[in-house]
Symmetry: D2
């Protein structure tokens, strides 16, 4: 089953975790850590006392604090999950790593490629897990498609066209690209294991004068594949639609549908090399298959993978290098928008993709 995560030889001791930040996403981390057998939720930190006390009523056994230092100094806390605003990711995660604890950081990993790289380097040197929260890497349709791609079912992928649009929710501090692109960029990284060479993007600040709420992003990859990503907080209806066109088959991934993956056995063929000059193309339209997908709670799997990485020393599926590259791709988007849509080169991050954490 594609989304399962292999266990080590035996069950391991639950990881004692704390959570920082009880805003929009933090409570989801709390709930899933509480439910997961491999984790033990020890403490929660937020600046707002009312948020803490509300949480305390639901989870009476959890320590509550408004001071991050309490978590850093606590000997019974092995790992901390961060769900605070992006601008705080780097200082908080750095402090946690320096305190010798593993870190889970909600996506995007940091507010810049340099920050993200610094976190990765710090974690590597310390031999600690640094895991960005790219939850889609644990979703059943995304994994079904990865399996199809790796099995060569689609042939060479010509291009990928992605749309992620809906009405709201505008962020006041980050653009639509920083809000939504981490989803699509992490999925692209996970599916294709390559970072784009160039990005060009156009956008508009429709509603608020300084925050872009629609963006059209073009990427090209070393393999020749190209990709386009449409992102918007302004849309008449929700679209979560990705089309993958390969030389053998094509595929539509619609995350709003009851049938999120549909594989089209369709394509075009050049009948033979010698007839090439005549462009004597044949179009093939075959069966359409909606594979059955297992039910799964991606966030629960993600929390489990964080614990597994801590206990086994193996890299989590959503690993730091992937998180760094996602941030660098978004930086490229920003730079292209600033230069009015110019084609921007995405510098590859000069580190190896980790297969295991340093001892």
């Amino acid at each position: 089953m594609p989304i399962s995560l292999a266990r080590g030889p035996g069950d391991y001791t639950p990881v004692r975790v704390a959570v920082v930040g009880l805003g929009y996403w933090g409570p989801n981390l709390v709930r899933n850590l509480q439910e997961h057998a491999d984790a033990e939720l020890v403490a929660v930190c937020d600046r707002r006392e009312d948020a803490l006390s509300a949480l305390g009523r639901r989870y009476p056994g959890v320590r509550l604090t408004t001071r991050l230092e309490d978590l850093l100094e606590a000997d019974d806390i092995e790992a901390i999950a961060i769900a605070t605003p992006v601008s705080t990711h780097h200082p908080i995660a750095s402090a946690i790593l320096r305190a010798g604890k593993h870190v889970f950081v909600e996506k995007p990993l940091a507010a810049s490629g340099d920050e993200a790289t610094d976190l990765m380097d710090t974690a590597d040197r310390a031999g600690l897990v640094l895991m960005p929260g790219h939850t889609f890497l644990y979703s059943p349709p995304v994994n079904c498609i990865r399996d199809l791609l790796q099995a060569g079912e689609l042939g060479d992928v010509y291009f990928v066209s992605m749309s992620r649009v809906n009405l709201g929710l505008h962020q006041s501090d980050v653009s639509v690209a920083w809000d939504l692109a981490p989803h699509d960029f992490s999925i692209l990284q996970y599916w294709f294991d390559e970072t784009p060479q160039h990005v060009s993007a156009t956008s508009r600040n429709c509603v608020m004068p300084t925050v872009s709420d629609v963006a059209f992003i073009s990427l090209d990859f070393p393999s020749g594949m190209i990709s386009h990503v449409e992102l918007s907080w302004l849309a008449p209806s929700k679209l979560r639609r990705t089309t993958i066109v390969g030389s053998r088959k094509m595929l539509v991934y619609d995350d709003t549908s009851n049938e999120p993956v549909r594989v089209f056995d369709s394509g075009v063929q050049l009948p033979s090399p010698e007839s090439f000059g005549e462009y004597n193309l044949t179009y093939r339209t075959g069966d359409i298959l909606s594979p059955h997908l297992p039910a799964a709670e991606p966030l629960l799997l993600e929390m489990g993978d964080f614990c597994r990485a801590i206990r086994t020393g193996e890299s989590p599926r959503s690993h730091a290098k992937l998180g760094v590259e996602v941030v660098r791709m978004i930086e490229g988007v920003d730079e292209s928008i600033r230069s009015q849509g110019a084609r921007v080169t995405i510098g590859d991050v000069p580190v190896e993709a980790p297969s295991a954490l340093a001892a």
Copy 2:
């Protein structure tokens, strides 16, 4: 009714028309000219004698010829419709105009902006109709949307996102942009009466080594509106989907649907100027309306408009200036693709949009 075309004070004498080119589209022109009360199909020209004789069996009264000169020299032919490959549009249309006859040219008007402009200038000087065949300007949903836009129903248009993809048919002589963009570009021109300032585009030659079969095109307009157009001959299923996001309402135009126009009374509001700094946005979701559209045959209306323009001296809805700008937009796409996605300025055509033909 939006798609009706006003008549002059009285019926006019049918226009005596000939058709050049019996390939894919020519027979449709022949059929619609034959059916239209305001036209009289006099002659048809094609190089291939078998195509002519097949047509002659269906339309016994029509003169057949393999020589364009026969049409040019015929005193009883007032106007000629061209449905030949794009590269031949300029020489053939020029010859027709020089022979003092009106011309209808299948889209795109010509193979370059200079060619298209030259044709327009020639026609203007001669006081003849030069009409590019942008058939979508006569389709019920396109006109319904134009009426909604002009009535201000959508408010200020923030952006337009268009997808026109399906499997095939690859052309060997022109790219996907030359094949499909004339539809979307002419619709944009018709809806908004403005030419984009810049275009940037990425594409790939997936199947054939020298012909691009997928393109992602970004446009920005003087009004601030931006637009994105996705075009492809490679797609698992046919999409003809345009989303218009305005400050008051939003709209989806899906030309493959039984309900091609759907108006969403949805949007986002800044509640008051003073609260602006807090980005206190309100999202509004209201009714969705699918307006009933009249049944109509766009190509028949288009042929009628050609005849009307000839008899009345008024500009046809699909006028030469619009056709020129569509070609210049496609040229911009080509130039951007050649410069690896760079943002290209579209030079405005230095003529006035004609409201009437010269006397």
Copy 3:
């Protein structure tokens, strides 16, 4: 707003309620009673101690008991909600009413029309609220449609066609009609305020030898309206689709859709009486409207209506007479199936629809 429930002149004291039965549905009653400001959840009863103790951990202040008598004898309990198997509804509800407490009974009200009538009579004599749990009467689309019907938007309703099918869940003790028909039958009663005169039904026991899992039910009403209801636990995909065809407009209610109500301004007209003999019909196809529906939690509204009825003495929207008629309609289905699809007369219940409870 259609689904709001008018309050009296002032807020009333919360009703002290207990819940019997913690199976599939009971926990939903518990949760909504706990959340509602007009209710105070006092106690919960179930035979299974483990179910009680699990619930007690989530709601520490609630009394737990395995004995119904504890609830009946408790002076601080004013009302009891029953979510036990249908066969137990009559004895439990009778005991509660005899103990002088108000009763909410999950649908269907009882296992037979006689039982249901007896409960209604008992409650009437005692001046107590007896409320069947027909939750759809509190759902936004159902109320939107009722408003449209009452405003005459659809004209005379010719017929209603309903499909409620999905894969599972087979019940071992009741047929698909007893499981699913209460939804559609209560909706029909609520929309049209009339009980059908006749019912005929066919069914099959596909999977289990003695339990029907598919049924096709035809109803005719005094007004001339007819209705068909298709019910099944065996279906490739979930359908919750109702079509209402009226003399002025038509409507589709699809409870699985993002746009659950769609109003079609379509119909057929006899142009004039004198041309009648020629059946010179005109078909009209107009706009399609998806009205925006308010967000609401039907079960929460239902619990509130129960409390309101207790405090105000007014009939709840889902009133006992409606519950009795729903049961008699299902009895008619059973009888028709037993007599191989024969047309069965549904005896009207010889009581008045209550507009207020007896003093």
Copy 4:
């Protein structure tokens, strides 16, 4: 390929055919006979001279006549296709058979079971082809489903639910059942090779006082399978939807969809006989497959099958016995409606299904 029709050892001489009736459907027969290599359209008959002359202009070589006798007496006419009102099918087809010519009759075969049987007997005695025009028997999705059923892909079929509704066109002379049921009833016959034992039906004359325009029809078959057919000329949107629920798989046939056949690998299982008493059911949800269907023109295939039957002496796929049973099923619907929905026994026709024509 399912819809192909096997040829005999060699090509046969084209059948010389005439067509009677140029109303709504007749011109389609004319066009397809004209196109088919195995047919030669010799003559056309209609009472209305203007209809004849219009057709003559399109098909100059075809003889035109207002007198049926001209066709009956013509030695060069081997077969006649009838597209006249149902009430005239029996007298016209009888006359043709008596004249020694083969007959194709548009569906339904005749206006009563006795008439239809009489035609079949007459044709059998004369050794002539009598073919009812059940065109759906030549449609790709219907044949794809027949292949799946015959291969046992769906297991035992529990039930079939069919909806065929749209707005219009009301007939003044026949009910909605006579108009639309021939489609569904012929498909059921073709798929399952069995005639239902009983039928019960309800209907209403909504628009016209004496013509039913909506009908709900229940059928039960000797195999235990049941079926329901909903028919209407009054509907907000067109539905052509059939669901087949089998013990192994389920299937949806939607004739308005781009993917008309969808096979659901879903079902319910009793895990073992001994656990039966506990109704320990397991629900299985698997892949969904939309098989690719070949493009085909059913009416052209139908005309070819008529010619093939004449030349080879083999029974056409749409054979007389099937046409007779369809008519008897509709008669059952009428009788049930007259007796207010009573369950009516459909008498089986006391002849053998022909595998070959009598010599």
